[in-house]
């Protein structure tokens, strides 16, 4: 009964656009999740290591810098290397449709684009964790 959904919200890369990440983090908290926020300008390695130590159910990455095709594959690869493939990876940001298709194929579970209501994100996470 004490089980809480734990999610890590990460801002990899160099862009400082944390408005979305913070709005989502606050919305997830208000939905009863435990949200670990690692801050700006994070290396993929740090994000994966944090996700493992925090034993999160899910990693949500916010990327608005156009580096998504580099960062998502790297995170997935690191999770694999560290036997942590059970951690689900989702993302959000400025990501074109054709890249979304590729990312989903690689193993990213879902990408939310700008304008997605926070409720949808909450409901989605609840539906996949359990």
């Amino acid at each position: 009964m004490n089980k809480k959904i734990r999610i890590l919200i990460g801002k990899p890369g160099l862009d400082g656009h944390d408005r979305g990440a913070k709005v989502i983090a606050a919305a997830l908290r208000d939905a009863g999740f435990e949200v670990i926020y690692t801050g700006l300008h994070q290396l993929s390695e740090s994000i994966v290591e944090a996700a493992i130590q925090e034993d999160v159910d899910i990693i949500g990455l916010s990327i608005l810098s156009g580096a998504h095709m580099t960062i998502f594959p790297k995170i997935l690869e690191l999770l694999k290397q560290k036997n942590a493939e059970h951690i689900i990876v989702i993302g959000g940001g400025i990501i074109p449709e054709e890249d979304i298709k590729k990312l989903l194929k690689m193993g990213v579970k879902r990408i939310f684009t700008p304008g997605a209501p926070t409720n949808d994100i909450v409901d989605y996470i609840k539906s996949i964790i359990r």
Binding site: G13, D15, V23, A26, G66, P96, P114
Partner: protein, 543 residues
């Protein structure tokens, strides 16, 4: 008919069931009349354009003398790619350049830095050394064009590169015109591109102020930016209040460093957002001019009328664009651009419809530029100055924003000023809260955004997108390596050591940075050198 009679009639009828307040949460009345501007005094509150307190505009002629500068922010890929785009824009009637740098450059990192991986040339052009800057402005005569560079922690380095490119083209420093953003305060508050802690950052900024007032007199040394504060989620009121508070803080620091206010204040310029609520935006620009003028005169005792002026660039709101029904963004941008012009902007960037997906394509950029040209050449709006001056509504709103801004100033003052308030997380918290409240308001349908929470459609968006090929990063690293092989490395080392000494000894950094640049020191090398002296800034925990 009396007002009371009308009020009675009005109250008997039904209003639409929506929230009639603007984005700053100011309640909007159904009607404004002379009662709402009771103490109105034309000479004191408005006066003529180009006259104190400049509410109606900073020049006597405004757009009848010269249109605003159409300046599309642009940059991507390698310097060569961007150079091609600049030539395209100039050919289509753009009148100034505005450089967008990629994230590693903005953050003072070279293209081969581990944190730069995947980011090189993505959101702007990659600049590592003077060589890149030479390519970027190849064939573009710097004496004929004004250039705005959106750059903050490494502003001194990029300005130095621009100056040296000028030298190589044979253009003297005192002829160069343009702007560096160089506004670190809003970085800590909103945009979050930082390297050093606030105090050394302020020192670098005052070094630039000093150097330019003596050597590059036509350069706008700081573009005090509300744009990013707004994009990070603030309201119009917060954008206005925080931006002006930051501006006054630069004035304080400039004076503290020993510069008479009139030597640098005329070179301060501003950069505002233009968001969805049309009249609120117009009132914001007008209030900004009036507040700045009043305080520069009464509090800072500036003598030169140029010190009183809020000259500003406007960019339409990127955060208001939608990925849904992206063509609607053209229309949004048109309204926002119009608001900026009605508010008396000096230059304007209109966003492209596809920017929620990627950097804009040539076609999308051209439509955005044409939008400005339509406002300029078809609508008749520029034919008269401050056409909304005297509107009961706009004047009341301008007054209200002024009043609320002064209240914010008091709050900041009680926190010890802007820098201590940053350290206490005041602005960051205010902005985060507004962003979250706005999102909640959308989700509760208290505010509408077409395509997001009203008139939604199932759609398959198909638009052409600009792709930055992965080769850009490889090519950029290659050319960086080549520069490193060809330059005189012992000279580079020598100039970097001198830069370090200047930082330690509180000497003006600009001449040292220019020396480093001339020897093709990389941006990363220069920033790392200063880090050793200044330390690095760490993000506070604020939600």
């Amino acid at each position: 008919m009396s007002k009371d009679k009308w009020k009675k009639k009005y109250s008997k009828r039904k209003e639409r069931d929506i929230n009639f307040s603007n984005l700053s949460k100011i309640k909007i009345n159904p009607l404004y009349t002379p009662d709402d501007n009771e103490d109105f005094d034309y000479d004191k509150d408005l006066n003529y354009p180009g006259e104190y307190p400049y509410t109606r505009g900073v020049q006597p002629t405004m757009y009848r003398g010269r249109l605003w500068t159409m300046r599309q922010f642009s940059g991507f890929g390698t310097p060569k790619d961007t150079n091609t785009r600049y030539k395209y824009l100039l050919k289509h009637g753009q009148t100034g350049l505005s450089v967008a740098f990629d994230f590693p450059t903005l953050y003072g990192k070279d293209s081969d830095d581990p944190l730069a991986q995947g980011e090189v040339g993505k959101c702007g052009v990659a600049i590592d050394t003077l060589r890149d800057m030479e390519i970027l402005f190849d064939g573009i005569p710097l004496e004929k064009i004004s250039t705005s560079m959106t750059i903050n922690p490494p502003a001194a380095m990029l300005l130095a590169m621009y100056i040296v490119v000028g030298e190589k083209q044979g253009v003297p420093k005192d002829v160069l015109t343009g702007t560096i953003q160089n506004d670190m305060l809003k970085e800590y508050q909103a945009q979050k591109t930082w390297i050093y802690p606030p105090e050394p950052s302020m020192r670098i900024i005052t070094d630039i102020l000093k150097y330019c007032s003596e050597n590059v007199p036509k350069w706008n040394t700081i573009s005090i930016s509300g744009y990013h504060i707004r994009e990070a989620g603030s309201t119009a009121l917060q954008e206005l209040a925080f931006t002006l508070a930051n501006g006054f803080t630069y004035v304080d620091y400039g004076i503290k460093s020993g510069l008479p206010v009139d030597t640098f204040a005329p070179r301060l310029s501003f950069f505002f957002n233009s968001h969805l609520d049309f009249f609120e935006e117009i009132a914001k620009y007008r209030a900004a001019r009036r507040i700045w003028a009043k305080l520069m005169k009464d509090k800072y005792h500036a003598q030169n009328p140029k010190s009183y002026l809020v000259r500003f660039h406007t960019q339409t709101a990127g955060c208001s664009l939608t990925a849904q029904q992206p063509e609607n963004n053209i229309i949004r941008t048109a309204f926002q651009g119009l608001a900026a012009v009605l508010g008396g902007t000096q230059s304007l960037h209109t966003n492209s419809m596809d920017e929620t997906y990627a950097l804009p394509t040539e076609k999308a950029v051209k439509i955005a530029l044409r939008t400005q040209q339509l406002i300029a050449y078809e609508t008749g709006v520029p034919n008269t100055i401050d056409p909304l001056g005297g509107s009961y509504y706009v004047e009341a709103l301008t007054d209200e924003l002024e009043k609320l801004t002064l209240e914010y100033f008091d709050k900041i003052e009680t926190l010890g000023g802007v820098v201590p308030a940053i350290e206490k997380g005041f602005f960051q918290r205010e902005i985060s809260r507004s962003a979250y409240e706005y999102q909640k308001a959308l989700e509760k349908k208290e505010k509408y955004h077409v395509g997001i929470n009203i008139f939604e459609e199932e759609e398959n968006v198909e638009i052409e997108l600009l792709k930055i090929p992965e080769e850009v990063e490889i090519d950029q690293k290659k050319s960086l390596n080549k520069v490193k092989e060809e330059r005189n490395n012992s000279k580079v080392k020598e100039t970097l050591i001198k830069l370090r000494e200047a930082a330690e000894n509180r000497e003006n950094l600009m001449p040292r940075i220019l020396d480093c640049v001339r020897e093709y020191a990389t941006l990363g090398e220069m920033c790392e050198t200063l880090k050793e002296v200044f330390g690095i800034y760490k993000e506070p925990i604020i939600f």
